[in-house]
Homo-oligomer: 499 residues x 2
């Protein structure tokens, strides 16, 4: 059998769930990252870069009972058959880095990092398979002061980025308290089923926002069938257990100490539960000392975070401003960042517990928030000055003109295509050029150049068909002696300074 011969012309297309970004957006996002980085630096965090991919097992994405890495990550095999995975967050590579360089590092180790992460998940609107995160973590710090510091630092980032107090709210909870609640209703860490069911419970509570209490109760119990008919297996709790969990999620209120008092009732004598409450009380004390009151940070037992590895305090930074949802209704903008304590992650490598806490902003999400608030604008950069090519035999002369402009600190370029006057003007327009420099035979004869203000001339430009008409007595254009090129250009550019 012979294969059918294909004519081979690949289609130029982005891979599924990915995107390109252009100048203005990149610059604005980078500025935002730098602002956050400056805050992180002031808090004593040090920059780290790790590679894009790691051994799958070093990322915790290789289960010993399977012969390939988890779904959810992009993985490939090296020459030597070892599995490699693209990082899906910045925390797992940090754990690898710390474990690998443990003895040489200052302890605690405070690092920040930003970069792309990749998720092999179903893409959707605004949901890409490559996206950027910026994280800060303190590794080797067991005390709650380091968690409180993370929370305070995230609040400071919000304000430095121009998100006013009152427009954001940080919701804090402690995983240990939920463990305590589960213990009081007969589920405890000794139970072999506990870990698995606990994660189902966490994920159920994590959906409170989206599904409401009724939906979550189904997920805590037998399970839930969604509108599409898909069935999600539940945690299998009894109705008494469900009531206890739901009561726990409703324990929130504005007064942090009052939340702790209420929670104390939910955990009874549970050692782990009481420890969780003690953690929150300490965090409250540190935050209060730093002046972070409940207008910025509340204790909210409905926030649990879906990830398995958190062991203590967890939090989410919510933008409280309203925005129109896909269904047209106004909803809160929602989460732009989060964090929590993960005392067991590095243990995977080291065998011993290395306490750690960290925080992470979703860069696109935060950028969208700032854009929504008018705090950033992906201003289309003003285009370069375009020197038109009036005579293709004189490219060298035009290039020298461009060089003079650049040496004078002016962003400039010669038109590099093969088009005529119309194409060149269209090009200058697409480049958002402020002005064009023209030196045809006429100008050269007079020892002059014509400077065309393209913004002033924008209305007329589309109507123009004739070279001569275009250059005749238009207010948008002036002639200056060739020797005064730089001054003339600067004068016109000055009309739009700061515009």
């Amino acid at each position: 059998m012979t294969k059918k011969q294909k004519t081979f012309r690949p289609k130029a297309r982005l891979a599924r769930g990915l995107r390109d970004e252009r100048g203005a957006q990149i610059a604005a996002e980078r500025k935002m990252l730098e602002t956050i980085g400056t805050v992180f630096e002031r808090y004593g965090f040090e920059l780290l870069n790790t590679p894009a991919f790691e051994y799958a097992d070093a990322l915790g994405k290789f289960l010993p009972d399977q012969d390939r890495p988890n779904e959810g990550v992009f993985s490939f095999q090296d020459d030597d058959e070892q599995w490699l995975s693209l990082r899906y967050d910045l925390t797992a590579p940090l754990a690898r880095f710390v474990a690998e360089n443990y003895d040489a590092l200052p302890k605690p180790f405070r690092r920040y990092q930003w970069g792309s992460v990749w998720r092999n998940e179903k893409p959707g609107p605004g949901r890409y398979r490559e996206f950027m995160q910026i994280d800060a973590d303190t590794v080797g710090a067991a005390n709650m002061a380091s968690d409180a510091e993370m929370i305070a630092m995230m609040a400071e980032c919000m304000e430095v980025l121009g998100i006013a107090r009152g427009n954001y709210l940080i919701h804090v909870n402690d995983r240990k308290i939920l463990d305590g609640v589960l213990e009081t209703v007969g589920m405890s860490a000794g139970d072999s089923e506990f870990e698995k069911r606990r994660l189902v419970v966490l994920r159920a509570i994590d959906k409170l926002d989206r599904l409401g209490p009724d939906g979550v109760e189904l997920l805590l119990g037998k399970g839930r069938r969604d509108e599409s008919g898909d069935f999600t297996e539940g945690a299998g709790l009894s109705s008494e257990q469900i009531d206890a969990v739901m009561a726990f999620t409703r324990s929130g209120t504005v007064d942090r100490q009052k939340v702790c008092d209420r929670l104390a009732q939910s955990v009874g004598e549970s050692r782990i539960g009481l420890q969780g409450i003690d953690e929150l009380r300490r965090i409250d004390a540190y935050l209060t000392a730093l002046g972070l009151n409940s207008d910025r940070v509340i204790f909210d037992p409905s926030v649990v975070r879906g990830l398995g590895y958190y062991t203590g305090p967890v939090w989410e930074v919510e933008l409280t401003i309203e925005t129109q949802g896909e269904d047209g209704r106004m909803t809160r903008f929602g989460s732009v960042g989060s964090g929590g304590r993960y005392d067991n992650l590095i243990k995977m490598f080291k065998g011993v517990e290395v306490p750690a806490t960290g925080c992470s902003f979703g860069v696109s999400r935060l950028y969208a928030a700032l854009e929504h608030l008018g705090q950033v604008r992906a201003d289309e950069q003003k285009g370069p000055v375009v020197v038109l090519v009036m005579d293709s035999e004189r490219l060298a002369d035009y290039q020298v003109m461009v060089k003079e402009l650049r040496d004078g600190g002016i962003r400039a370029e010669m038109y590099m295509g093969a088009g005529g006057m119309k194409a060149q003007l269209k090009y200058a327009d697409k480049r958002r050029a402020t002005l064009a420099v023209i030196e045809g035979a006429d100008e050269r004869g007079r020892g002059e150049v014509t400077l065309k203000d393209l913004k002033l001339g924008a209305q007329k430009a589309t109507e123009i068909s004739d070279n001569v008409e275009w250059r005749s007595g238009d207010a948008a254009q002036t002639s200056v002696p060739r020797a005064k090129l730089i001054d003339g250009v600067k004068q016109i550019l000055a009309r739009y300074d700061g515009a």
Copy 2:
């Protein structure tokens, strides 16, 4: 049969051929990239980001007669069985981007981009499988002025980065001339074997630096066996053909016009060869007009570049300063960047020819050059001010102190670990802290804080065993009223300003 049960503790290790980078180096590299970016911007190039991976066929890495992508790239299959590959350079994704967005883009399209690329190759010393490039390209420009501009821009980058004129040299050649030479000795593009042999010839000449003329002659002929015994198949040229090619590579000299004259003799009547010489003559004229003489740019027929896709001018930026090679002998630092014209690459998608030219700096290589020249230093950042924890019940007070320092613009942190005085001093030392703030019970009783200049005290610090001894009458430490904390810290920091 049951699988043997493994105890599962992954080893924390970087994947093969990859590396981590720490703060100072990252910051210095980023500054270099920004400097280059500023030059590119002034030349009118616009920033673009493309994703880390693409469909393998869209990168030109999927051969129709095979069922998986080329070796040399990292590839994996998506859910829908399509092959994805990590980008191995920034040119292939640009070609995809331009083809995909052709109608909407200004033409010519001038973009620059920097980011990681990945090569599935054997790693070696200083040779990583993930590395960074910064590229600028003009797509849609057929004239040699755009190539000359690239060359001029690379020269300007070198000088803006602090590499003095005379320490670098740009070697330019034109692929068409070699084609002309081959044509004169009976090999021409009509020949079905031509493309394959031509690439072998290019790769052979590309090794002149490393193998010398004798080695290259073997590779042009029957082939060459290296020291390890590996045999590399040759291009199979006759000795007359080899002589012609070798004569071509020796046509270089300082005078650019003289090189063109010599080359004109090598290509005879070959149309393609004469076209190549015309291209070089134009580039010479543009460069001369821009003031770039043969102290900065020479024509050098021994430079051909190994890549298949170049169609006209090619060039390499060489650092001419000497450095000690691995064998202890002094050698030239070598290539830090390169570029060339590739008029057929976008044709792969569009069917029509879209002329393009571009340049690329290897970021690590260029950084190493700047480091070698003393133009950059990965200065270890001065550490933060460390507030020591003298009483673990008073963390909130110490945090408030840290907050005051930060609010005063001082990089500061509280010690977050659980260690005693010795561990805390060791920590401050590893962090390269300039000073430590100490407020024990004594100080608090007096309403004071002790400021310890860690640089002054560095010599003594290792000898200290006793808390009291350490704080007694040391010139390196002073006490200030608690209310004067900021002023006191600033005074000590001022001792090392600019250090």
